[in-house]
Amino acid sequence: MIDKKYIELMNRDLDSLISSEEKRLLQDYLDGNWEAKEYYDELFIATEALKRLEDPIPSENLRKRIINSINFNKYADKPGKIRTGGFIRSLNIKYAFTFAAGLLAGILIYSLVMVTQSKIVPDEISGTIGLSENFVTLENIPLNYSGLTGNITILKRGNEFWIDVNSYSSRPVDFVISYPDQVQFMNLEPAAAGSMNLSTGKDYTKLISSGKQLYSIKFAATSKVVSPLYLKILQSGTTVYETEFSLNN
């Protein structure tokens, strides 16, 4: 039987919170009670065992991942900067989409008319057909997460490559692409994609978007051999997908 008062003293001793007087009292008690002594020794070993544990070490790119996942634009707004109102912006987008849809429909109708009316006579064809360098699909990533669906395709042609995003998300999604020195961000297409929050650094490009998204991010490699790139998708700060990919196929 161990007195509760001494169990508390033992614990406080293990936490180095005991006075010399209490320490002496505890020692006397342990000397006269083998059960308490055994209990104390076990507690001591259990506490010491925790000290044996080595500090876990995070992966080397954790710092970079943390920095890339933060939207540093939040406090970086310059005072006096004229902001385009959300209403005007949404109007522009609506007009852009209406115009694009009309244009596409026109092209489609024109193509159908031309195809049905034209007749190819092989005898009248001469010359050569030149093929430009083909696109190579490096990755095709289906997105099927809670509140985020669609797919991402990574394509390469020569020293240029594209990350095509076709997605729908109910909540804001961060697309973060980290890359080595041998890669440069070129541009984002289409222009309407500018309504998304785009930020680029020396070694990363980040887009924050929500709703229906259809855009392409273009990069160029300045070297034949390029270190791996890193794509990460976050939803409300939580990573839903991450992958490393290489351009050296």
Partner: protein
Amino acid sequence: MDKDDKDLVKESLQGSQKSFEEIVDRYYKTIYRLAYRILHDDDNAEEITQIVFVKAYESLGSFNPKFKFFSWLYRIAVNETLNLSKKLSYTEKLNEEYSSAAENPDEIYARSELGEKIEIALMELDILYRVPLVFKHFMDYSYKEISELLGVPEKTIKSRLFTGRQILKEVLIKNKIFQK
């Protein structure tokens, strides 16, 4: 001379990315270790570390400079870790893992190093006891500091620490990490 955390926070709020990066440099390894000790999982610990800094940055304006910055940061870390732990039903999963280990403990534990065995034993503790133990033994927090951090009376923290230690001792014996 190193800048004070509060100065770095102030500069971050004025738009200095460099200042917040310095905050990240100061604390990301500690936050990672804390999350790892509670969750015992590399990926989740890294995930938590990332979320903590994103959330800290997003709510930097709500930080009250009257308090210590790292305590504020640790509180976010603890909340996020506990949320994830609940979400993953971590305890349940580990209990399952342990029941399989209990079928053949000699074989399981022969494969792992002592440190790993102790970590596994620590994970058998309910999170209620594990968190105060982690703060006491790995972060060197006082009863009062743990109590403030977790928003639980000091007396309760003390009791959880004692009970946690008692359970840990029993688990170590049960898992034959040390003999009775």
